[in-house]
């Protein structure tokens, strides 16, 4: 019996902490990567990035509806995955349009990063208006296809345990898609000529220009990569939970926190930071009472919820980690400023 108690406790932990944190962490890592790429190449903290996420997801939802009304679906997979490439194209085009009409002016003037940051606040307003204007401010679910891979009830019956493990298909999709995206990004940055010139440009702009790298091309590629990452992150998040512009806007803080915790400007750091923030948010707000009930003898059972922080303070966690990192290791986990 003792052994079963232990397994039950572990399954409980996997179900409520590890699986959700893994999928949320992957979404956050992708979003943070896009923030980092912009920061590394274009050299400013983009306050509009969370709203690019809303925009990309909105485009995906619109294409999903279009496909659904045309009777096209992806079988057991959500239709949104089919819509994603089209949405990425739309988002990237809109990104480039905004870059041409807004950002390029300040780049030519060699404005300070903080000016670009304020400009991005203006873009943030515009994007929020556009998203709310087109799809409205309400909560939307756009998930279809097979919902569960492992269902709690089947799991319990199969293994004869008290605790069940649920794995939603969106969670598996999230992890797989995120892994594919990250690996291809790192391959692109490390192995291809374009990726190398991007890194060179990020490292030393003048030197890169001298060696004949076309800056405009780099900027365009940066925006395209950023749109791919941010749209994918937004769609995965929306499939997993739901899409609401205000919730997406609130992801800005965890994104920034992840970027700084990981080491601002470093892609590996962004991924690590994303997972660190996600795991801390979930492990610190989970109530461990049941977990300890399984593990400890009856006499030692906890009376309270055994929760470090109430779930109301999810924001606070990314911030507290941010502050700790700023005090202890201001450069972040992975040192380095270039991508």
């Amino acid at each position: 019996m003792e052994n079963f108690e232990f397994i039950n406790a572990m399954v409980l932990l996997a179900n409520f902490v590890i699986v959700p944190a893994l999928s949320y962490g992957s979404q956050l890592a992708l979003a943070t990567l896009s923030l980092t790429i912009i920061y590394g190449v274009l050299r400013f903290s983009n306050f509009a990035q969370a709203d690019w996420m809303s925009f990309g997801t909105m485009a995906t939802i619109l294409f999903t509806w279009l496909f659904q009304s045309a009777g096209i679906n992806a079988g057991i997979l959500p239709t949104a995955l089919l819509a994603l490439p089209f949405a990425i194209i739309v988002t990237a085009l809109f990104c480039l349009l905004i870059d041409r009409s807004v950002y390029s002016f300040y780049r030519k003037q060699k404005s300070q990063p903080i000016v670009l940051m304020i400009v991005s606040v203006g873009v943030m307003f515009i994007l929020q208006a556009v998203v709310r204007f087109i799809i409205g401010p309400n909560d939307r679910k756009f998930f279809d296809g097979e919902k569960y891979i492992v269902h709690a009830l089947d799991f319990k019956n199969y293994f004869g345990l008290e605790e069940g493990l649920t794995i939603k298909s969106t969670q598996l999709i999230t992890v797989i898609v995120a892994l594919v995206a990250m690996i291809s990004l790192f391959y692109f940055l490390q192995k291809t000529k374009l990726g190398k010139s991007m890194r060179a440009y990020s490292n030393n702009e003048d030197l890169a220009l001298l060696s004949g790298i076309n800056p405009e091309k780099i900027v365009i590629v940066t925006w395209i990569i950023s749109s791919i990452l941010i749209t994918t992150a937004g769609v995965l998040y929306g499939l997993d939970k739901s899409f609401k512009p205000f919730t997406y806007f609130n992801l800005l803080l965890p994104m920034f926190a992840a970027a700084i915790v990981g080491g601002i400007g470093s892609p590996i750091g962004a991924v690590i930071g994303g997972y660190v923030i996600a795991f801390s948010e979930i492990t610190l707000t989970y109530a461990y009472k049941k977990f300890f009930v399984y593990l400890l003898p009856e006499s030692l059972e906890p009376s309270g919820l055994m929760q470090v922080l109430s779930t109301d303070y999810k924001f606070a966690i990314s911030f507290i980690i941010l502050v700790i990192v700023l005090i202890v290791r201001p450069t972040g986990i992975v040192r380095g400023k270039i991508i």
Binding site: I118, V121, P137, L253, I260, V308, L326
Partner: protein, 456 residues
């Protein structure tokens, strides 16, 4: 255009706009807009001190505003003695444990060199602190929140006149700013923006969810007023006489005595509302003038010149022996304190504290727009920005609805496109705000009333 003329022209146009609202909508509406304009201007001055003088990007204006509002509640609301009797001890003990743990943490952090011992001690302090606080805190807040939850369910405040809270809010906001500044001001400028963005979200989370402190999202309403109530005015002799004298000619024109009495009643009700708003406007305007005057003094003092020198060239200022960190910290605290004052004033004006209404767009980024469009580095510009942007923010909604009606003019009444257009009209004002900011940054980067560069 001559730079000297910009300010008078800008303010004249603003006055005309407000007068138009007064004539076409009503003077009561116009006065409400003016009151909020004044508060916005004060916030804008606070941000301008930080950004315009110091070059610091504070993205947590909302947090300091909410702190001001919270202070207004905690200063003015009557204390709930029952809650203090039953659970005051528990709360005080947890507060003491909290303060002790923080002090211990700071002490360990500063004085113990050995990393292993330091880390063990830090973890021990955090764990025991949390256990200690949870032991007293949880049960106490349950008791507090169960006492008359429909009406109070919190500890109440000090029961002082609400006007004191304006000063105390400055102190509270300043203290919080000191803590944030200590942590972030030594680092790159982006970090301050992100850290302040975070702290503002935390402040909002605390006031939303700590019901024992200020009832959370259940709101605290019916706060004290520093000005008379309408109903008192309507019953007082001197006010009736005043209304009669002002509207003498209108009343004379009435034929019968009864219709004259009816008109007088209507006039008294209208005027009492306007009178209250005028009182607020007077109070707020005095605060605005005082803060403006002090900021101008600071700007033109050696201290202000030093700050601008630091903003324009940190290395040079540092080489001249100026301590950049300390100066930045000072200006960050002062600016945040001013924002705190404005937050307390806002809650005073509303007569209630509604944590749910604090949104970053409305309370952080709009204020930024005011400073940048008004003219960073110029206090007069910030005041103009406060008036102008708030005016647009308020009037954008009716204008957008009008615009959408025009767009949808040819469509049937229940046409889905028409319904969608009208339903989304409210979001158009975000668009207007973004566009204004981008246009200003592009074509008028110095703002409507630019900073004056003094040459001597």
């Amino acid at each position: 255009m001559n730079d000297e003329l910009r300010a008078p022209i800008a303010f004249t146009i603003m006055g005309i706009l407000l007068a138009i609202v007064g004539f076409t909508q009503s003077w009561s509406v116009s006065l409400s807009v003016i009151n909020l304009c004044i508060i916005s201007s004060i916030m804008a001055i606070g941000v301008n001190l930080q950004w315009g003088y110091g070059g610091l990007f504070n993205a947590g204006v909302m947090g300091f505003t909410a702190l001001g509002g919270l202070t207004a509640v905690l200063v003015s609301h009557d204390p709930i003695y029952e809650a203090w009797d039953k659970a005051g001890v528990g709360i005080v003990i947890s507060a003491i444990i909290f303060v002790l743990s923080i002090t211990a943490l700071l002490f360990v952090f500063r004085n113990i060199e050995n990393k292993q011992i330091r880390n063990t001690l830090i973890i021990l302090i955090i764990v025991f602190g949390l256990i200690g606080i949870n032991n007293f805190y949880g049960p106490s807040i349950d008791i507090i929140e169960s006492i008359n939850p429909a009406k109070t369910g919190f500890l109440g405040g000090l029961g002082l006149p609400i006007i004191f809270s304006w000063l105390i809010a400055a102190v509270v906001a300043g203290l919080v700013a000191w803590v944030i500044g200590k942590i972030t001001l030594r680092l790159r400028s982006d970090y301050l923006a992100i850290a302040t963005l975070g702290i503002s979200e935390i402040v909002i989370a605390i006031v939303k969810h700590e019901d024992w402190l200020s009832r959370g999202v259940k709101n605290v309403s019916g706060l004290d007023r520093p000005v008379p109530y309408e109903i008192e005015l309507q019953q007082s002799e001197w006010f009736l006489n005043l209304v009669e004298i002002i509207n003498f000619s209108k009343l004379e024109a009435m034929q019968s005595l009864s219709s004259r009495q009816d008109l007088l009643n209507d006039l008294v009700i209208d005027s009492s509302g306007i009178f209250v708003k005028l009182c607020y406007a007077g109070l707020f305007f005095s605060v605005l003038l005082l803060i403006f005057y002090l900021s101008q003094l600071a700007l033109n003092s050696p201290w202000g010149r030093m700050l601008r020198a630091i903003r324009d060239n940190e290395e040079a200022a540092s080489a001249m022996g100026k301590n950049i960190f300390v100066q930045h910290l000072q200006i960050f605290i002062i600016g945040s304190a001013i924002i705190g004052i404005a937050g307390a004033m806002l809650t005073t004006l509303d007569g209630q504290f509604t944590p749910g209404s604090y949104r970053p767009l409305r309370f952080t980024f709009i204020i930024w727009l005011m400073v940048i469009i008004g003219g960073s580095g110029n206090n007069l510009g910030s005041i103009f920005g406060g008036f102008f942007i708030w005016f647009i923010w308020i009037e954008a909604e009716p204008l957008s609805i009008g615009f959408m009606n025009m767009l949808a003019g040819g469509l049937e009444y229940d046409n889905p496109l028409r319904m969608h257009l009208l339903g989304s009209a409210a979001h158009l004002r975000l668009f207007i705000m973004g566009l204004l900011l981008l246009l200003a940054l592009r074509f008028m980067p110095k703002g409507v009333i630019p900073e004056k560069i003094q040459k001597k």
